[in-house]
Symmetry: C2
Subunit: 522 residues, 2 copies
């Protein structure tokens, strides 16, 4: 008998098991990379019957846990302090209220599917297959989120006379300068210990291509950096390259220039059509009455064989929930102030976790001036001023109006300074900075709204930022339950600030509970 | 009286004339860049009454010309050889026929808004404001076209054992190697004539940031290049960098590595939702009965005070059209074979224009394996094999099925080789190459369809590719009419292969006709 050829074998697998079986087989025998994400824990149907889990928080982590547990027959109750699901997954639209500790704003945007502001997470990297898996399962429509756009601007008060420079030019002139310098060093054999004589010409060709150098290895600008007059019926006219000294004086390159090469920021980035909260709404729809809105947890305690939670409802009435297990997704910035009998080691871990005081603000524009005047379709302009960024919408191109994110701040000192301002002062500060990028800004934007996450009740911060080393020492503990209390949320992950961290940590908690229940029942 | 401050002046302009007036004023006084694109020629209403223009070809150029002339009251007749508008703007769906000189294929894709194949143009750069202007005017919905995706692959038969390598890794390891070498040269003062002692530290910091170097200026890989195991509940584990020698052996860097930095390929790129032909259909809807489909031009002649066109209708009946002016958008590859009395200089210019023998082919996939198995959401994988590229759809993410472009060839020798194959042979060749990038390819794709543009009647090629210097000598002529015959089309531009070239050249022809009519009437 002849040995089965690999191709023949794979054909048989495909015929027997279909494409998915083929994929798994190929991955197992090393022909394809094994997927990093294995999917949610596979709980046997009805395996949770008779077990009651209370979930604290109807954010992405809490709803993920509740959804997966419900599917396996667990009785689940989700206590959510706010009147809406999603937690920091929050899309603000006309009429929505932004309540901070010292102010209340009401969103005055006009109506429209695209007239929203993602005050919390606003992008999903393509490899975040946990959260994307739920988008697939729930049929949440996705579109590309433009995270990097060569037509956007960099603006630095200390360089280029403070004038905005196109990303196209900054990025490609940088490449040109770097390539030219390297070519110079190679040409004069200054790197002969690193580049062999044999490789020299090939390396020079590589560098020329990389930087769009001339045949003589000089950088004189290139179409990549943009035109003074674009080609059309004439060949066009190139602009002059920036001055390297001026580029070095700017702060662009410190991280802004390579931001979109980051693993978690590189294309393709995605967003739900119509607002990030489409994901939260899809979860909430499936959980239905299992979520109790307006339920503010005031105490979380281990009991001998379960948990006891005290909460207050919207009318301020206190009530107790006793459950077999708890999954708490309450941010540590909030949990630290809730009465509990957690073990001291857990209390220390909770106290060690810092939260970023990020701020984000948005305006309505009655004309999409970024598209009409600047040919900017989505993407982000960067500045070294307080607002840090201006985001242009990645969808509804050519619509009459739009929402622009007028500032996204994640530096604590700046975020705290904004938090001390009234909402009106924040918006005025953002307009003053926005004018440096778009001189027409003040006359184009209105109806602004600003969220300072450090001031938002039930969040007390935007996302966890573990101090150096603190996560490594806290995690062995936090990945395990304290009695019957399991922990989940972006803060219980190495993907802090990302919904993916919330999903993966919830999966972990669900898996751990299921394992205990199986052991107990088995 | 006090002088008016600039801000006060601009406020007055805004109050009087609104945002658009403000923008124009700011541009005029140098506060904003003047827009490169001035819009279509402004023809006075009814200025064309009593004037008849015959337009040859209902592609983008022809329909642009006909639309603008119609709006100004011209009588317009568009003769189109095919049964559909758009010309090379062609989206193929279920049931559509691909007729080449020696074969006919019928598209067997399943139905679905996203189940189309853009056989011709498939992307629109954000600065192509002519064609985008019509999308805005006609309300053609646009979405982002992912032209560059770090999750896609490079595959080179001569490097990395022929295995696909992620774009993420190739791009960022290249940056790392380049930065490391440059840092080495700077550190040993090999570039002291170019980098002053004063700038040295700043330059090193710049280079470290650019290449994700360690503090000691070495490149040891970085998250930008991807992980062996992605972070999640653990910090993740980096992969090893590629070998520089292997990278140099590959052909990635020759242009593929910087392709998406090109002026006409850089983000943001756009596409109409549901197929590029949504633009053609929008034009055709507005032109209505002015387009005569199935009208094949057999002669184009200047007359004493106009033009005379001979055409054959779908039943082969010959008829003549006499008009005051003609705009011919027929590709020179076709016009060269049509009887005409053009002046010898024009005939020479027409003969000098070459056409690219590009080929493009597509498959249906019953499972979006690129999303499910590889986390690829749109974008392009590159290979040095014949197919050159695989394109993944930029929309309808997470749909059950999808259309993948299994090859896009613009090298003439390869395009001609494909044109000599039967459609089945082309598809088999594409699958054999696709398997090098996606080992599961053969079992995933089906219902392929292939277009070799050199074999497509009424096109005889994909786009104009003027030989070195030929355009410069032909254009002074072609931008002017030959008698009453005006020329338009992508070939009459410095944006050959782009719809924008078609639009701008049509605007030019329309403007020139309007000028003559005004002079004659005035």
């Amino acid at each position: 008998m002849r040995a089965l050829s690999r191709r023949r074998f794979l054909e048989l697998v495909a015929r027997a098991g279909g494409a998915r079986a083929l994929y798994c087989t190929m991955a197992e025998i090393g022909l394809l990379p094994l997927p990093a994400y294995a999917g949610p824990p596979r709980l046997a149907p009805a395996s949770g019957e008779g077990v009651f889990v209370v979930v604290l928080g109807a954010g992405i982590a809490g709803m993920t846990a509740a959804y997966e547990l419900s599917k396996a027959g667990y009785k689940v109750s989700v206590l959510e302090a706010r009147a809406r699901p999603g937690g920091r997954n929050w899309s603000i639209r006309r009429g929505d209220k932004v309540e901070e500790k010292e102010s209340t704003q009401t969103c005055a945007f006009e109506e429209g599917v695209h007239m929203y502001f993602n005050a919390g997470p606003a992008r999903i990297p393509h490899h975040h297959q946990g959260i994307l898996g739920y988008c697939r399962e729930f049929g949440v429509p996705l579109e590309v989120m433009v995270n990097d756009n060569r037509a956007c601007y960099f603006q630095d008060d200390g360089a280029f006379e403070g004038k905005p420079v196109s990303c196209r030019q900054v990025v490609n002139d940088s490449r040109g300068f770097i390539a030219e310098l390297l070519a110079k060093a190679i040409s004069k054999d200054a790197l002969s210990e690193a580049v062999s004589a044999e490789d020299k010409e090939r390396m020079l060709a590589f560098v020329r291509s990389f930087g769009a150098l001339k045949a003589d290895n000089s950088f004189k600008g290139s179409p990549r950096s943009g035109y003074r007059q674009a080609p059309g019926l004439s060949p066009g006219e190139l602009g002059a390259p920036l001055a390297l000294s001026e580029l070095l004086r700017s702060e662009f390159w410190q991280y802004k220039l390579s931001f979109s090469e980051r693993y978690d920021q590189a294309a393709t980035m995605l967003q739900p059509v119509g607002g990030m909260d489409r994901i939260a709404m899809a979860f909430a729809e499936r959980l239905g009455a299992a979520i109790s809105f307006g339920s503010v947890v005031s105490a979380l305690n281990k009991t001998e064989d379960g948990v006891r939670v005290i909460a207050r409802d919207v009318k301020g009435r206190e009530y107790a929930v006793e459950a077999d297990y708890a999954v708490t997704t309450i941010p540590f910035s909030v949990l630290a102030n809730i009465s509990n009998n957690l073990s001291p080691a857990y209390a220390s871990a909770i106290a060690a976790c810092r939260y970023v005081k990020a701020a984000k603000l948005a305006f309505q524009a009655d004309r999409r001036f970024w598209e009409e005047d600047h040919q900017i379709y989505g993407g982000i302009s960067w500045t070294n001023r307080d607002i840090t960024q201006i985001w242009y919408p990645s969808g509804a191109f050519h619509a009459a109006k739009g929402i622009v994110i007028g500032g996204y701040i994640w530096s604590d000192p700046i975020g705290e300074a904004f938090a001390r301002m009234t909402p009106e002062e924040r918006l005025e500060a953002a307009i003053r900075s926005g004018e440096k990028i778009h001189p027409q800004y003040r006359s184009e934007v209105s109806r602004g709204i600003a969220v300072c996450w450090g001031n938002v009740p039930h969040s007390n911060g935007a996302w966890a930022d573990w101090p150096e080393g603190a996560r490594e020492s806290a995690f062995p503990l936090l990945m395990e339950p304290d009695g019957r209390i399991h922990f989940a949320g972006e803060h219980i992950s190495y993907l802090t600030g990302w919904q993916e961290g919330a999903v993966l940590s919830a999966h972990h908690a669900v898996g751990a509970i299921a394992e205990r229940v199986r052991a107990r029942k088995g």
